[in-house]
């Protein structure tokens, strides 16, 4: 039996606190709360990008187990909890599709990472708000193109079918959508 579960919302600050509780105290209750919110979402993301239901359940499970294992490495000044968890799920999916990755992720320790401070955490939350605004400022078609990138694992030729425009146009529109998104982000940066 399957049920829809999990809270509707979990603020970025709450999520970050829960991860911190896992990091410092291996807090199982904090894990259960994170699990309730993120597990159905990670699974939904994996289903949207074309992972089979069985594998999506498995990869979502592994994603949350990594949250438990790597909680100490979460830096709320660098990314929100949702971004951090998205990246874990994304990497699991791509590594699952490839039989094995011959090289590890770029090692974050190569870069001097600043420890999270109140200031960097606030800045990170503000960046998230700006992103939502940037997305909102795109035209419907541009937002659709960005969404197709993230969700539908479609080759350009099929994006061309979805949008009903020729292949060459798809490529240039993708570039335009990305440039537009970037421009919006730069405007909001000011």
């Amino acid at each position: 039996m399957s049920v829809r579960s999990g809270p509707e919302t979990l603020s970025a600050i709450e999520a970050s606190n829960l991860i911190n509780r896992i990091a410092v105290a291996k807090d199982r209750q904090a894990f259960a709360l994170l699990f309730a919110y993120y597990f159905p979402r990670v699974k939904a993301y994996l289903l949207r990008v074309g992972v089979s239901p069985g594998l999506a359940e498995e990869l979502a499970q592994e994603t949350l187990l990594r949250v438990w294992r790597k909680a100490e490495s979460f830096n709320p000044g660098a990314a929100t909890a949702s971004t951090w968890i998205f990246v874990i799920a994304r990497n699991l999916r791509t590594d699952g599709l490839r039989s094995e990755r011959p090289y590890p992720e770029p090692d974050p320790s190569e870069e001097p990472e600043q420890p999270a401070t109140g200031e960097t955490i606030v800045a990170c939350l503000e960046r998230r708000e700006r992103l939502r605004q940037a997305l909102g400022a795109l035209s419907t078609e541009q937002a659709r193109i960005i969404e197709l990138f993230y969700f539908e694992d479609l080759p350009h030729s099929e994006i061309s079918n979805v949008l009903g425009v020729p292949l060459g146009t798809v490529k240039s529109r993708i570039r335009l959508a990305v440039q537009r998104l970037r421009a919006e982000l730069e405007v909001l940066e000011l």
């Binding site: 199982r28 894990f31 791509t94 590890p104 998230r128 970037r182």
Partner: protein, 219 residues
């Protein structure tokens, strides 16, 4: 402004979305190691994934999933995962060249002669990869004849530089090509140019270089 921006954006977004095949993924990790500007943008594109995760309609899940996770946590304690990374194998590199971290971890074959002043070394990718990746080293002032491609190609300059149709590319920059674009490359004087190339499809054999370039296909 450098040529980087207009060409790398959609690759960055696809990389952030986990949409790139192994060869292009390696290329972008290498590019990110070299470009602070792209790292900033990449972080924003990843954050887009976080926003999407918050706004997605949650999937129906098995109610027993949490208990399975909790018991998995118990067994994690004793069963520490141990990822073995093989010692990287590298062909001789130019003097004073430090490989970007993602490349340091790959298996790279020996240099193969391709043409006068041009040599290449294949990089091992996981089975099932639909793209290829290789290093290309080209002597100073060499001109590569025009050639086109059937599929997408991206080049990340690691050392040295070149001109292509009016634009200049230096370390960290990405140059793109696909079926609509023909290269017209001139290597900078002074030092060889070392590039990482990711490629899908085949090179059109419409020139002597194209035929020569076929050598890349199966490496």
């Amino acid at each position: 402004m450098k040529a980087h921006s207009d060409t790398a954006d959609d690759l960055l977004l696809r990389h952030a979305a986990g949409r790139l095949d192994a060869g292009f993924s390696l290329l972008m990790d290498t590019h990110l190691a070299l470009s602070a500007e792209s790292r900033t943008l990449y972080a924003q594109y990843e954050a887009l994934g976080g926003v999407i995760l918050d706004e997605i309609t949650p999937a129906d899940v098995d109610p027993a999933a949490l208990n399975r996770a909790l018991s998995a946590i118990e067994s994690l304690k004793t069963n520490k995962s141990n990822n073995l990374v093989h010692a990287p194998r590298l062909p001789a590199m130019p003097e004073c060249f430090t490989q970007p971290p993602p490349l340091r971890m790959t298996q790279i074959d020996s240099w193969r002669w391709i043409a006068p002043g041009v040599r290449s070394a294949r990089i091992a990718l996981p089975k099932g990869a639909k793209s290829r990746a290789f290093l290309l080293e080209i002597a100073p002032e060499v001109t590569l004849p025009r050639h086109g491609h059937e599929g997408e190609e991206a080049t990340c300059v690691l050392k040295g530089g070149f001109r292509d149709r009016g634009a200049h590319y230096g370390p960290g920059d990405i140059a793109r090509a696909d079926e609509r674009i023909e290269h017209d490359i001139v290597i900078d004087p002074g030092e060889p140019c070392l590039c990482l190339i990711a490629m899908e499809g085949r090179t059109r054999p419409n020139s002597w270089f194209g035929r020569l370039y076929q050598n890349f296909r199966d490496i």
